[in-house]
């Protein structure tokens, strides 16, 4: 055994290992720094060149120098050799270096094992369908390489690949059983490194100029929603995120702390829905106004924003209920109202003057709101993702000069106008609308649906949602952003598909992805319990699962062993037909014996069952012809003769 491990690798088997290294490292080139990819690629080429000429592998000092160089590069790039990204970079480097000291079977096993880890670590970055297919393809190649390594001298390429495919196929039932029955543990076993979930885009908890405009250019999916009932009207689909009350003249921020619980007065029956949130690294969730039913481990913060206990670091499902018509905090504390009237001193004098004018003309707050909306509805204001740059008095610049902006500009200008007029108002960040996939009925909300709107507090009505963008660009709410913007605006490619066929393809692909996410990637301890209770196993502690798993795996193993080892008796069709005819005789009470020849049996039939005699003679004749004359045509005659036995 140990001698086998030290055994030198067959020269012809080495390219298989290069293939294993390449296929497992390749996906990492999407995420690793360019120089590391180049480093790994060059070493692979070098190794191939050495192999081709059967040249001597580089000495220990060369390897040491290369490893030192690689480590230095990784240190410069990531400022660490550990952590998620740096660790993956180290794996890539080690895999490349191992190709330069590939001598024995043991080295080959190290390469294969490194390959497994490289496959695994790629799932930090992607777990889509293509990644799943890549997994299968890689394992196929690895299996073929293992067969080639341990299969003695040169088995033909196609036979090796076919055998590898059958081994992987036979492994699939085990995978399925383990996937379904292996006791699932949710949550990390220990703290994740700092960079475990780096680089996520999404709504942030503050709103600086241009933040949302930038987000809108991403076609990434923010979350998916499935309603239990029919889809509500589009203009009700306001997905509420963080509420921003503090304004410093440039940036809107959340105010710290929890407020007293909301008083929500539902005016319509609640709708219920399930949200599948993509990882956002934020604690707040996105809920339809106004949330009336929350899942456990989540809470509202006094501003109607739902929060989870921990940041959403992976795709997660929540069930909510919402009343789409509601009254919210009709009685509000004076502290909150004061805070929502505050403005930074000395900024935006023109806006203030305008609002003070409105107030002094004796208008009610509701009338002032309408006045402001009328202002935006005027022909001067335009909706664009590429607004001109604004100066220190940004709101003044926008309202009186550029008049071109995006939802965040309108929401901010509106709130400043309201506050200047003494009406409590604040900015709400979130998403609006979404696109329903007709194939699976899921509503898909993308980053490009990010939105900002305003909320004003009116005496007797509580906080009321006002969306100035709806006035400026009504189509934004009805059809989504793709229809609002003029050609040439920087929009994500997915939204620019105007052709029906392409759109249909996209729907299909996204429905497939969603099914993959919901059914396969989303399989967790809860789904495991659901599945088992549907199978009639109510009590599913991990012990029961373990017993079930062991039993089913043993069964599968026994079935596989029986199937692969059973030497099927090779009966040719002629023998099968002959046996059928003999069974027929038994039914007709002919006492034939196993040692009798066909001709003897025919004789016996003529004696015992004369009615059968002629028909059976034809069977015997055809059988003997097939058997000994060797013509395949006779098989048909035999089949017909057996079929015609009375």
């Amino acid at each position: 055994m140990s001698t086998a491990a030290r055994e030198a690798i067959d020269h012809a088997a080495t390219p298989w290992l290069f293939g294993v290294a390449a296929i497992t490292t390749a996906p990492h080139f999407l995420h690793q720094p360019g120089w590391l990819s180049a480093f790994a690629g060059l070493i692979l080429l070098w190794g191939t060149w050495l192999w081709q000429g059967d040249r001597r592998l580089p000495g220990r000092w060369v390897l040491f120098l290369l490893v030192a160089l690689g480590c230095a590069g990784i240190l410069l790039e990531f400022h660490s050799l550990f952590g998620r990204d740096a660790g993956v970079a180290m794996l890539v480097m080690f895999m490349a270096m191992k190709l330069l000291e590939l001598k024995s079977r043991r080295d080959a096993m190290v390469i294969v094992t490194l390959g497994f880890f490289l496959l695994l670590t790629h799932y930090f970055y992607a777990q889509g369908i293509t990644t799943g297919l890549w997994l299968l393809g890689s394992l196929w190649l690895i299996t073929a390489a293992l067969i080639r390594l341990h299969g003695g001298p040169a088995s033909p390429l196609r036979a090796t690949l076919r055998y590898a495919a059958s081994l992987v196929a036979q492994a699939l039932p085990f995978m399925l059983l383990l996937y379904l029955l292996f006791p699932r543990i949710s949550g990390p076993l220990w703290g994740l490194p700092q960079d475990a979930h780096a680089g996520k885009t999404g709504l942030s908890e503050q709103m600086a100029p241009g933040a949302i405009a930038q987000l809108v250019q991403s076609g990434d999916i923010a979350f998916r929603v499935r309603f239990d009932g029919p889809l509500p009207a589009r203009d009700k689909l306001y997905w509420r995120g963080p509420v921003m009350e503090n304004f410093d003249g440039q940036t809107w921020r959340q105010s710290p702390g929890r407020l007293a619980a909301e008083q929500i007065e539902a005016l319509s029956l609640p709708v219920t829905y399930e949200t599948t949130l993509e990882a956002s690294e934020q604690r707040w969730l996105l809920t339809l106004d106004a949330p009336t039913g929350l899942p456990p481990e989540t809470a509202l913060n006094g501003r109607l924003t739902a929060y989870a206990r921990q940041a959403i670091s992976q795709r997660q499902r929540f069930r909510f209920a919402a009343s789409l018509d509601f009254r919210f905090n009709v009685r509000e504390s004076t502290g909150v109202l004061e805070r929502n009237r505050a403005l930074p001193a000395g900024l935006n004098p023109q806006t203030r003057a305008l609002a003070v004018d409105w107030r002094n003309s004796g208008k009610t707050p509701a009338a002032i709101v309408n006045q402001a909306l009328t202002l935006f509805a005027g022909r001067d204001f335009a909706y664009t993702l590429q607004p001109p740059l604004l100066g220190r008095n940004g709101i003044d610049d926008f309202l009186f000069r550029s008049k071109r902006g995006f939802c965040e500009h309108y929401a901010a200008a509106f709130v400043v106008l309201m506050r200047s007029a003494g009406i409590p108002a604040r900015v709400v960040g979130g998403y609006q609308g979404g696109e329903r996939n007709p194939l699976d009925g899921y509503l898909v909300i993308r980053q490009s649906d990010a939105h900002a709107w305003a909320e004003v507090w009116l005496d007797g009505r509580g906080w009321v949602r006002v969306d100035p963008t709806a006035v400026v660009a009504p189509a934004r709410l009805e059809n989504g952003i793709g229809d609002v913007l003029a050609a040439g605006e920087p929009l994500p490619a997915v939204l620019q598909l105007r052709s029906d066929m392409l759109r249909n393809l996209r729907y299909r692909w996204e429905a497939l992805n969603n099914a993959w996410n919901q059914q396969i990637l989303g399989y967790d301890s809860q789904s495991q319990r659901d599945l088992l209770s549907r199978l009639g196993l109510a009590d599913t502690g991990w012990q029961n699962l373990a017993v079930l798993l062991a039993a089913s795996c043993s069964l599968a193993l026994a079935a596989l062993a029986a199937w692969t080892m059973y030497n099927r008796p090779r009966h040719d069709p002629a023998t099968r037909l002959w046996h059928k005819a003999l069974r027929h005789l038994t039914r007709r009470q002919v006492n034939w014996a196993p040692w009798e020849t066909p001709l003897t049996i025919a004789q016996r039939v003529r004696l015992e069952q004369p009615a059968l005699g002629e028909a059976f003679d034809r069977v015997v004749e055809a059988y003997l012809q097939t058997r000994y004359a060797g013509a395949t045509d006779n098989l048909k005659t035999l089949r017909a003769a057996v079929a015609h036995l009375p």
């Binding site: 079977r105 695994l120 799932y123 777990q127 394992l139 003695g152 949710s186 062993a561 030497n567």
Partner: protein, 317 residues
């Protein structure tokens, strides 16, 4: 004998008389992970912990698929031996110091080939074997014959790590096979012939006097008889040449145990007698052998030579 080794003896007990063909079945085949398999298992465990910790659904899938592959590999390693037919063969006698070859025939009546088999005796270098689908293959297992007499074939380990190298399946074969080992020959000049009943007149001719040409060297020929100059003129592929002498075919030689009294031990005496038998047979002369307990009348030919050598090989120590 330790507990472990006695357990091993019991566990791996041979269940056949060892002379007839037999089929490897599940009771004869054992399977354990190889070192590579242990590395594989450890890697899977680490990967599983990683997949749980980072909640990687595809990570779970990868680990479970690999675990399935491991189990499948185990079944297939086992299958590579299961149902194999082993037929003990016979072996050619050799001289002590030479390598004996035991021939086994492996029959595969399955429609899949059985590659990458290894057969070996503990402590010896193993030989690789492979049997194609619905085919058979003859395997020679080499074993150094150290001492004269019967060389019993020790227990053979038939093993395979095919297809994935994660498990080694093996079976112990103990066919009742033995190989006769002749004493190691010691070459020296033949003793003088003794007059025979019918041909005393020609008794003066020596066995090594009349040069009659060259012939190719046999393994049993003494190096001293090699015609080095003539051999050097040959091509490389052709072997060494040995001088052949005529004459003396009609004189009978008599190899007597008593005539070897000058040797130090009885083994050396047997060696010397063996050398004489070989030399005489090579020269095509008639010879007889007399050792304690056995007297073989003069004769010639292959059967006679074998008879003499057998007597020497089996001479009680």
């Amino acid at each position: 004998m330790g507990v472990i080794s006695s357990l091993k003896q019991r566990l791996f007990r041979w269940q056949s008389d060892g002379t007839t063909r037999f089929r490897l079945n599940q009771r004869r085949i054992f399977i354990v992970p190889t070192r590579g398999g242990l590395l594989f298992a450890t890697a899977l465990l680490v990967m599983l912990i990683g997949a749980i910790n980072y909640n990687l659904a595809l990570g779970h899938a990868l680990v479970f698929l690999l675990a399935g592959l491991g189990m499948t590999g185990m079944v297939h390693s086992f299958r590579n031996l299961h149902g194999l037919l082993v037929t003990p063969g016979r072996s050619e006698a050799v001289f002590a110091g030479e390598t004996a070859h035991f021939t086994l025939t492996l029959d595969n009546d399955r429609k899949q080939p059985r590659p990458a088999l290894e057969l070996g005796i503990a402590g010896e270098k193993s030989v690789a074997a492979a049997v194609d689908r619905l085919a058979s293959s003859k395997i020679n297992i080499p074993l150094l014959a150290r001492r004269r007499g019967w060389l019993e074939l020790p227990r053979i380990r038939l093993s395979t790590v095919y297809p994935l190298g994660l498990f080694v399946a093996w079976s112990y074969l103990q066919p009742a096979m033995r190989c006769l080992v002749y004493p190691q020959p010691l070459f020296s000049s033949l003793p003088p012939p003794r007059p025979t009943a019918q041909g005393g007149a020609r008794s003066g001719e020596g066995g090594e006097e009349d040069f009659a040409g060259f012939r190719e060297r046999q393994p049993a020929d003494s190096p001293r008889h090699v015609a080095w100059k003539a051999s050097a003129r040959q091509n490389d592929e052709q072997g060494l040449l040995v001088k052949q002498f005529a004459g003396g075919a009609e004189t009978e030689l008599h190899f007597d145990w008593a005539a070897t009294a000058g040797m130090a031990s009885s083994e050396e005496r047997l060696s010397l007698l063996t050398g004489w038998v070989i030399s005489a047979a090579n020269e095509g002369r008639r010879y007889g052998l007399e050792i304690p307990g056995q007297n073989i009348p003069p004769g010639s030919g292959e059967a006679h030579r074998r008879h003499c050598l057998e007597a020497l090989a089996l001479f009680p120590a």
